[in-house]
Symmetry: C2
Subunit: 328 residues, 2 copies
Amino acid sequence: MNASEYLAAKGKEVNEEIEKIIPKTPEEVYGIIWDYLNRGGKRLRPAISMLSCDAVGGDSRKTLPIAAAIELFHLYTLLHDDIEDNSDMRRGKPTAHRIYGIPMAINAGDGLFPLVFKATLRLEMPPEKIVGAQKILSDAFGVVLEGQGIELNWYKENRFDINEKDYFEMVSGKTGALIGACCNVGAFLGGGNEKQRKSLREFGEKIGIAFQIQDDILNIIGEEKKYGKEIGGDISEGKRTLMVIYALKKATKEDKERLIQILSERTKDQGKINEAIGILKKYNSHEYARKHAEKLINDAKEKLKTLPKNEASERLLELADFFIKREV
Amino acid sequence: MNASEYLAAKGKEVNEEIEKIIPKTPEEVYGIIWDYLNRGGKRLRPAISMLSCDAVGGDSRKTLPIAAAIELFHLYTLLHDDIEDNSDMRRGKPTAHRIYGIPMAINAGDGLFPLVFKATLRLEMPPEKIVGAQKILSDAFGVVLEGQGIELNWYKENRFDINEKDYFEMVSGKTGALIGACCNVGAFLGGGNEKQRKSLREFGEKIGIAFQIQDDILNIIGEEKKYGKEIGGDISEGKRTLMVIYALKKATKEDKERLIQILSERTKDQGKINEAIGILKKYNSHEYARKHAEKLINDAKEKLKTLPKNEASERLLELADFFIKREV
């Protein structure tokens, strides 16, 4: 089984658990959640969490409710991020707020919040384990939303003075923390020791950041059909990606001003979007970002050297590579 | 101590607990939460939860984290409801999304979600008690958001064929369930038996619905300075209150059509708002709603007869009356 096949198999297990958690009615809330759920998604975070459990010698099948809780939280962020970023498409279809309006899309996202709680309570382990897992997850959920808040404020204040340090702080929160917590909570439930949990958490944080960088690269140079979102959507959103930060540092005064202008406009004009992509490519920003992502993956893999060699730890290494080789 | 003084004293305790839970930074998330927190609020729900604990012979000081969790969830719904309802004012000041924009206001609300989780984990009781309390709360949180979703859909589809049964189903979820859960979880943590918990839950559900009806009445006939929201704001929001449903049933064809027209317009025109309020008053809708609220309070008080007579149970009876006598 290659990484994609493995993810598909794991995803099926996770979906079955999630389907036990989301009610059918009222449709006014759960219909919207089912819609997003059924659009697919790789269920990467649950898979990583379960592998981390197995990697330290645990039995990940027992941790399915936590894997489901993580994916439900992820769905929650997708529903709200799409509104916050004014995105038109998600996984090849119109975003929830485009279909159902902003009020109902906010509320549907909120409807996932109690379900995340409830998912954790399905864990058939001693209550100490449940609250331990909740502690890890709720800490990470907080950090994710903090990262998101910092990024949203950049847009609100139309800031372009973001440097790489600012960027990495933000993305460590927004994307790194959750994947780090996936690993940590999996290892915790699997009975891993402190050192193993720390190594896995750091592994997760690094591959999480690399995942985000790769996502941003695909948004600029990917194929829309595979990618499922608008290519160049990040330009419309004015997103301060690592590529943008690099290009703004390297570009001529003229290119810099033009890039800032287009990003500030929140334009859906394809000509302008292509122009901005052209500027990013002119300075090889995507190559720069790719190298960064590769370095993160290598550092991440280094962290796993202390783990026992087994099928699960090998699979985690493979997934790390998949994170930056994927085209979807 | 009268009901207001009692609530002020309890509110202080709850605030101290909440202040330990909400971080100071990043301001991009927590600044918005602190803003809403510091606007005041009666902390009714925490007070009711703690009284329910004491009423069954528990020590409510030990349940402060749960009381705080409930208030944090309530704050969460306020932040998002204000966006969903397109409200301009909250507790005498502009709503969060008017100040910080919709994206940051959504995200700040979301920032409360992990804090609710974390608040429950502060409970210094055996983990079985923590997960027991979480189960009660997460069930109620779900029902609240379901009620909200149903109501939002009425607006979205501009439905005016809502009858009293529909209305009470919606409001039982949106407002009744949380206050019912306040009582239930307080009694659970205080060691109350099944019968006591059920009585208290039903008490809470009924006073919760009465509270909402009173809130809707104040929105129409209250004083803006005391009330802290725009008088007639519910007209702008097109809200299907018990008063509206009653008036639509009783009104002449002409009045009915006019009321529907104004409610559909989502108008901020004070002349039209006053006209709609005039139609509601013409049919004594506010008196009809008040009688409903009074009956609910009487039924609720009846439920408490099975409880031991003590200071806390007396206080609950007093609060029930306060719910419909308040002007703020």
